[in-house]
Symmetry: C2
Subunit: 225 residues, 2 copies
């Protein structure tokens, strides 16, 4: 399996390149508009063929590259079935996206947004903003809902094996990866909290409005085109 | 094997935490002073015992955390034999640092600085600033020498298997890892260039003086204490 983690410093977004090392079919998860040339150069240098571009959700903090990359490469756009009409392949819980011999299994993990999905590939899970390293996405805009997110984390993602590697869409402290087992023990927002305690915590965060939300959400509902 | 890549955004430095997953003996490579609490918290959460803190070289762009971490944990400081008298275990080409059942093999890879070493652990090599992803460290200060670096890259690091994963001390474009095979083909400074062409390129870069060099180099010669 090909696997690369890429970082956009401006939005602190992680993009992932994964592929089958035999068939060389590949996909990009959560690509960022400003990094299109970097990402497609890497795909080209590694001799991969891009089959899919996937978003974990309609982002509010950066503009997705899925549309422009699909237009340039012929890759198909994958996203949750609530993400918008620009998605070529709207996916639901339990759906599988095949990439050569690789299987990307879809878990619906709403709460940060209502369209949020995670993708499981082997011993890795790409959690978007549902589960971050020692944290989670906020729940105060875009149909976010703290109780729903609590279920997505503790009732869906925490059902994965403890050794599953957690690759989130963002990190702000320089961490690159975690595991489900670690998050169960150490997640600063979820560990040791009941659903009601989590909801109270999330509802009281008082975070500032994302700088790019008014640009990013409409753009991302059109897959960044 | 435990393995974590950590990033310091201010200096674009990668720090690596590696350890034996049975004995739980661990080491930090190129820790950054501003990230001591983050890094030691992770060591603690993972239940690891820090045996060594290693620098790949005397850095000019950030202050190392090796001294303070050694003082707090009892870990021993490892560095190239030209790095300075604060190093507990000065290492030379071919030396092996044991970490439980893990073996860190030392390669002397001077040229960016005269004390630069790389550490090989299994299929990974931690190259410091000798070999960066698609690039290399500059050679215009601290006893740097372009011809020497050319040999370290093409005559030492390129002798590793092509599939060896290259983990550098820095990246400025959001890449996290490469391979020796990729760098042979795509390194923007080295690929396709003779030694003389590389020396001419490096001597003509005209880079600005690092902002922190007057603070960092004396501090790092004292292991950041």
């Amino acid at each position: 399996m090909w696997f690369r983690q890429l970082f956009d410093r401006e939005s602190s977004t992680y993009t992932y390149l994964i592929g089958d090392d035999v068939t060389r079919d590949a996909a990009l998860i959560d690509p960022v508009r400003e990094q299109i040339d970097r990402d497609l150069q890497l795909v080209d240098q590694l001799g991969l063929t891009l089959r899919y571009v996937l978003d974990t959700h309609v982002h509010a903090d950066h503009v997705t590259a899925t549309g422009p990359i699909a237009d340039r490469t012929g890759a198909r756009i994958v996203g949750g079935h609530r993400a918008g009409t620009c998605v070529d392949l709207p996916v639901r819980h339990g759906d599988v996206v095949s990439l050569g011999r690789l299987r990307l299994r879809v878990l619906e993990t709403p709460g940060h947004t209502d369209d949020s999905v995670s993708y499981v590939a082997g011993d890795r899970v790409f959690t978007g903003d549902a589960l971050l390293i020692r944290g989670c996405g906020r729940t105060d805009f875009q149909n976010g809902d703290a109780a729903t997110l609590y279920h997505s984390i503790t009732g869906v993602l925490y059902d994965l094996p403890a050794s599953t590697l957690v690759y989130p869409a963002h990190d702000y402290k320089g961490h690159a990866v975690s595991t489900i087992g670690e998050e169960k023990r150490f997640n600063a927002r979820v560990a040791g909290r009941s659903r009601d305690e989590f909801v109270a915590l999330m509802d009281g965060l008082g975070l500032p409005r994302p700088k790019l939300i008014d640009v990013a959400v409409p753009a991302n509902r059109a897959c960044g085109r």
